[in-house]
Amino acid sequence: MAAEAKPDEAAPKKKTLSFTFPFKETELALIAGIPAALIAIFTGLPAVVKGLGMLLCLLWGADSVRKTSKYGLGTGVPSIGLLGIGYGIVGALMGLAVASIGSTALFGGVYPAVLLGAIVMGGIGYVSGYFANKERWIAMKIPRLERAMAELGMAGSLVMLIEMSIITGSLDFSEVVQWVMNTGVIAFMFILSSMGMFHPYNACLGPDERRERTLTVSLEISGLICVILGFTMLVLGTSAWGVWDPLSLIVFGLVDWVYFYRRYIMACMKECYATVGTGLIKTID
């Protein structure tokens, strides 16, 4: 069992017991953002590839939530994840509205204009971050909050666009309204995607929180979202490739969930023995 990891031997090399994450925050934003943007444009891709894009996007969002929330928001971590997805839905609306501009039917559909939604929400996120940080207004005084909110707006828009593209197989506004909005699928997309962003840090925060371990939770939730989206596709029958497309997404989601859930639990068990105590909670007087 992993918990019996020979404490006296392992103590000096604690960090080497578990895996580390190879990318820094800015690198992760680029590595996740650019492929996700490409996957959002090409709607003819198989659902598994789109699922991978959604996974990268949620990872980016969860990282942004983490770097903002570690300074203490005062309202709980979920608020900023919901903010990201709230902006994401407005951005997805903007993107879908202009999707027909410059679109072609090549490669099963290419919609480059949808990225306008993500860019606009990046701008609005920056504005709200500016107001939230500025002394004259809300005065949160969190370093780089503007950038984090802009990233959340962009990541949220891309997540929503990719999920809509998974369900409908296209980003045509009337089809999205028919299969995503009017069926009510958007409701669980809203809450599950915000879960993917805020839950990792909300669950892992505290002494000895580690970025790698936190982000594993995001990857694991993405797997669960893939499974649910796969079942939705199967029920709605919207895939152009019959049942193999949703089934492959479900299998991908299950493998992703099992692998990262196991890895997260192993990491927790290996690292928990050396957690430093922070003392008792201070009383008021």
Binding site: L73, T75, P78, L93, G123, I124, F131, R136, W137, I138
Partner: protein, 233 residues
Amino acid sequence: MQIEPAMFLIVGYVMIGGALGSIAAHLCPVGGAPAAMGTATGIATGTVQILLGAVVTGLFTAATVSSFTSNILLITISGAVGATIMMEVVMFMANILYAFGCGVLPISGRVAVDPITKAPQTAYKTPQTDGHGVPDVVFVSGILGGFTGGFGGALIYFTLLYYSNFSYGTAVIVALSIFVANAILAAYNVRGTIEGFQDPKFKKLPNELIPSIVVSFFCGLVVLAATIALGGL
């Protein structure tokens, strides 16, 4: 392209709805984590969760009413009533749990005398806590908060449904998103917990109202651009 009055109404109503959402966040009794232990006044959860619950109920009633009428007052006020009922039920149940479960009195921690009923507060407050439960003045404030929030959410919903001509589902989810963004900015302004209009933190409302109006204005512009691009006007 011709300038039409509906364009100004879309941006204006989204702005008003967002501003009402942030006022609602300042009026609702939010206790946060301390209230979960019974050591602060208010409902034991975050601003966003309370406002999200209230506005979802409000949008549910507003959407039901909008299926047989297109009168703006009927739709917005039914949304407001739905959100108010949700807030009242939550505050009432919180009081029952605090009184019979924890054994604490509903007491405000911020005022010495209740401004409405003139009941003394400080004498009943447990030492080292910040009040408990939902006392009278906080209950009234919560009702006002629910009404304002539901009205704002339903106003955005009405705008999206009848001026932008989106479908019911699209209008509801976009109204919810714009409302939530404003409620979260308001939650950051009150730093997580607030009792209501008698709380000293309520005086910080103007600091947040301008950012909220600016962000709602941009969201309104996005909705307007989407409406024009889809030819919905």
